[in-house]
Symmetry: C2
Subunit: 257 residues, 2 copies
């Protein structure tokens, strides 16, 4: 199976590196507007490379667009696509049907993880979510990624989109909460490392009991007097104060209903 | 050292169980309005118990008020306190000076962890933060808790308060984010366990690199088109939509400045 990539970023890099190790798979070509990145990845996976979309070689079996969610539609208008080959993207927020006017066989390979170019992805049990235009494409994509992980799942475009939103809350926003905590510690000359046992227990408890059952704190207890004192403490931090108030209200509301 | 407790909840239970194992320490009396809880804990630590504050025996060396932050001031008005004994509480949001009109020696023993009655606390490296009225009290409290953990620290009332707010963000609010994620998965028929590798990596990355450096996602990238699509997805979830918008704005603002 000849696989070509458009893109040379975090996901393209880790996916190409992993796929090339599968028997019978050959990474065919890397196309990326950034010449240096294209060349660098192409050398690692022993593929051709180019920085112009028009130079995409047509003789691939699978083309993977691993680019920013936003760039996909744009790229499609500039790329000559052969029919009867499978075309995929790796984006959480873009429907597979973005391809439907230019190919009969298309799909999505969505790895549910935060992936970095420079940190080798551990694929073994990492969920990869597949969406496909038809049964035979679904089967081919699933067979392929099963070589990477035991956690392959077929989902709809709508489910992948919901999962993407859920991932923003569980990953990006929970990290932002820790970031505010880090900032408050720094301002008050407190070593943020003191909080490590607490954040560790928080995460493990959520995993063990589910976050719904693991919730604790003044908002969960309905302890309005502590909440008010905390808001008073944050009076010179408008943004953090508003977030504290809204998040406490959210938790209180959740346990009332 | 004779130690008495007012309170029989999560912190009182785990602290009494741990302190009684120290050589030379005797848990003297447990006072709690809930007769059954008082008796139950007293039996476990071989102490007397009572449910009336007026029955506090005066011959203790250290009295620990391990009750809700709100209840401390109230309890003090009803309790006859002998002078020259050390009085402590365990609350994050109450200054040690709450005791200053009734004792010359007072302080705070604040364990920075979410503690449950029914789950044995692992004290070994759990931060315990000490505040004290004077050097000799500070020394006695520090010596005592050093038997429990190697992570004892002396901090001011102001620092403990800031730490308490920081802990709400890092623990309670990050858990609330995972709770929203869990809810969105349930509504869209997605197994929440799919997100486990992602939340695990999120937490480990924040610990390894610090949350400021670990931030990822559409808001961090300034990807407004994905943010808008996510907000559209949440259009029937007013609360979650507002949180999504405000948290994204917060992250964007943080990386702009």
């Amino acid at each position: 199976m000849k696989i070509s990539f458009i893109g040379s970023g975090n996901v393209a890099t880790q996916l190409a590196l992993a796929l090339q190790k599968i028997g019978g798979v050959k990474i065919h070509q890397i196309i990326s507007r950034d010449k240096g990145h294209a060349k660098n990845l192409a050398m690692q996976v022993k593929a051709d490379h180019n920085h112009e979309l028009s130079r995409l070689k047509p003789n691939f079996d699978l083309l993977i667009l691993a680019v920013n969610d936003d760039a996909i539609a744009d790229i499609l208008t500039q790329t000559p696509l052969p029919d009867n080959k499978i075309i995929c993207h790796t984006a959480g927020s873009v429907a597979s049907t973005v391809f439907k006017d230019m190919s009969r066989k298309y799909g999505v390979i969505y790895p549910l993880q935060t992936i970095s170019k420079n940190k080798t992805t551990v694929w073994k049990s990492l969920p990869i979510l597949i969406t496909a235009s038809d049964d035979s494409t679904e089967k081919r994509l699933t067979q392929l990624v099963k070589h990477l992980t035991r956690a392959t799942h077929v989902i709809t475009d709508e489910q992948r989109f919901a999962l993407h939103v859920a991932a923003v809350f569980a990953c990006n926003f929970s990290n932002a909460m820790m970031q505010i905590s880090q900032k408050l510690c720094a301002e008050n000359n407190i070593d943020f490392d003191l909080l490590k046992p607490l954040t560790q227990e928080t995460f493990e408890k959520a995993e063990r009991m589910g976050p719904r059952n693991a919730q604790t704190g003044p908002a969960k207890r309905g302890d309005q007097s502590v909440i008010n004192k905390h808001l008073e403490f944050l009076k010179d931090h408008d943004l953090e104060k508003n977030l504290y108030r809204d998040l406490s209200a959210y938790i209180q509301q959740t346990y009332r209903s």
